[in-house]
């Protein structure tokens, strides 16, 4: 079942003028990208800084509007929705950010932060918050603590709890394990896999680290300068990379220590 379908996405940014007259130069951050995400499956997006992968995430989250193309979530064009309609749809697709130190409000206890998406839906459901704590391997008694009292890995668990508390269908993870130590990174990747198997989540997993993406994704999209170099089943691409760039990423990921 197709959860999310992106068709011919293109996003351009205007750069600062270099000349007084004439049009400002443009940067095409995302260039004609199409992909599908199926329920229960992970699409991995790998690329370096400037490849357009974060712009892609922001468009899927409807924080940004594409200049061309569209994104359909369960058949609805999310960028055509009115802002109130979009807010009603948001509980169904949630995001995990890169930096667990800045994705939680330092002035709010973590129970408050996890309950925020529920409040946005007009719900008061402490049992759902407690359940989310359990799902990510934390104790509901931790709800009264503040972000600085947790380690990086624990904060990322809290961020994941906030993302799944609304029981979403799609999770967007933008460099969600990049800021973590290797041993903690593996814990969080396993947690995401467990949650996906339990809840049937579709995941858009974005990272610069091919090894990390490879461990979790079913299909893979390799981005360079906003263009899709390769797109297909992850095992095919990893075992038989068609593009030199993908080969060099594999090499950098340390296929052999």
């Amino acid at each position: 079942m197709t959860l999310l379908r992106a068709q011919n996405l293109t996003r351009r940014y205007r750069l600062p003028r270099t000349k007084l007259l004439g049009p400002a130069p443009q940067l095409t951050a995302v260039d004609n990208i199409s992909f599908d995400i199926t329920a229960g499956q992970t699409l991995g997006v790998v690329g370096e800084s400037g490849s357009g992968k974060s712009t892609l995430a922001r468009m899927v989250m409807a924080f940004e509007t594409p200049d061309a193309g569209n994104i359909q979530f369960e058949g609805q064009d999310i960028h055509a929705l009115k802002s109130a309609e979009l807010r009603r749809l948001r509980p169904a697709f949630q995001m995990i950010f890169q930096d667990p130190f800045s994705s939680l409000d330092p002035r709010r206890n973590v129970g408050w932060s996890i309950a925020e998406p529920l409040r946005a839906m007009g719900m008061h459901a402490p049992e759902r918050v407690a359940e989310a704590f359990g799902q990510v391997g934390l104790h509901p008694q931790d709800a009264g603590k503040y972000p600085h009292e947790f380690s990086g890995g624990q904060r990322q668990r809290i961020a994941i709890a906030r993302a799944i508390v609304t029981r979403p269908k799609l999770l967007i993870a933008d460099e969600a394990v990049s800021a973590l130590d290797v041993s903690v990174q593996a814990q969080i990747l396993n947690l995401l896999m467990d949650l996906q198997d339990d809840l049937g989540l579709g995941i858009l997993f974005i990272s610069h680290d091919l090894a990390v993406v490879a461990s979790i994704c079913d299909t893979l999209l390799v981005l360079q300068h906003g263009k899709a170099l390769e797109h297909g089943a992850a095992s095919d691409i990893l075992n038989n990379p068609a593009h030199r760039y993908t080969q060099s990423l594999l090499k950098a990921a340390g296929d052999r220590l």
Partner: protein, 320 residues
């Protein structure tokens, strides 16, 4: 040349480094591997004489046989840049945005080596060429923001090499860079170490980069060096439970991601998180997270065993 012996760095809230010993000879390429809080950056600070004043040092740090453990800042200033230099993780913030990169690199030459303007400029140009900056004479007039991340890191390497140090410490030099650029910077550091017979201490959490850059390795956890040896041997056949866990937890892009039942494989993990400094166990720092832990581990500090100097109670001469 540089030798740390039983160096302990103690703060009021805990020990950032515990009885660390490390010998660095000319041309050595040593990797220091560890996660955040492992003490790897404190080890680098010791070698640079830049340990915070609040810390209490025990043990010795010898530079050419002279004990520098409690040397004055003035004494260290004669050592830094000329004997030991350092490059950092973030190439943007390490360069003054208002100065042309050529001036930045020329400054230590003029201060420490007393070179004139023209001499220094010629040397900067030669250095830029050595670190692989194309068209050095025009690049040295540029400002940091006009250069790419990789070029900036090369400028910082040139800055570190300005006074021909015998030891270059690279603290996470590739972490902020894209994968392909990181590979090139790593290879550059290896080349420089070889051609200059300069020792390289390569600090990183990235095992692949350390494998590529170094011949010897020290694995750190919670302020202890838990295992050391030839890089290839340690990574191929780790003996300390922490090293084993760390290597296993690394995702492998070539691994088959699904088992026979079509279920995705889970990654092996080290349970728990690195405790903060003030909560580290008294004995083996890794106790509480270790799979082969014994009752004494949390209280008794393990002595280094065998050729790997592995600090683990589960390892004896017999098991090696």
């Amino acid at each position: 040349m540089f030798e740390l012996q039983n160096m302990t760095v103690r703060f009021s809230f805990g020990e950032a480094l515990r009885e660390a010993s490390l010998r660095i000879n000319p041309g050595d390429r040593i990797g220091i591997v560890g996660e955040s809080g492992s003490g790897k950056s404190m080890l680098a600070a010791c070698l640079m004489g830049m340990v915070p004043d609040a810390a209490e040092l025990t043990g010795t740090l010898g530079v050419d046989g002279i004990d520098m453990t409690h040397a004055s800042e003035a004494h260290w200033q004669t050592i830094r840049a000329r004997r030991v230099a350092m490059i950092f993780q973030e190439p943007m913030s390490a360069l003054n945005p208002l100065r042309r990169v050529g001036e930045t690199v020329a400054e230590p030459m003029r201060v420490h080596l007393g070179l004139g303007k023209a001499q220094a400029r010629a040397r900067v140009s030669a250095l830029f060429k050595e670190v692989g900056i194309p068209d050095p004479d025009s690049r040295l007039r540029m400002f940091p923001h006009e250069l790419s991340g990789g070029q900036r890191q090369r400028v910082l390497i040139a800055l570190a090499l300005a006074c021909d140090p015998e030891l270059l410490i690279a603290d996470e030099p590739t972490t902020a860079l894209d994968a392909n650029v990181a590979l090139k910077i790593t290879d550059l550091l290896v080349d420089l170490s070889r051609t200059r017979n300069m020792a390289l201490v390569f600090i990183s959490h990235d095992l692949a980069a350390v494998a590529r850059a170094t011949t010897d390795i020290a694995v750190m956890y919670g302020g202890d060096i838990v295992e050391r040896g030839r890089t290839a041997e340690v990574l191929a056949n780790p003996v300390h439970p922490y090293t084993q866990g760390l290597l296993a937890a690394r995702p492998d892009p070539r691994a088959v991601p699904r088992d026979a039942n079509g279920r995705r494989r889970r990654l092996p993990t080290i349970p728990g998180t690195v405790p903060p400094l003030y909560k580290l166990p008294q004995g083996c720092r890794f106790s509480g997270r270790c799979a082969v832990e014994r009752s004494a581990c949390a209280y008794v500090k393990p002595a280094p065993v065998g050729p790997r100097h592995a600090t683990c109670h589960a390892i004896t001469q017999d098991t090696l």
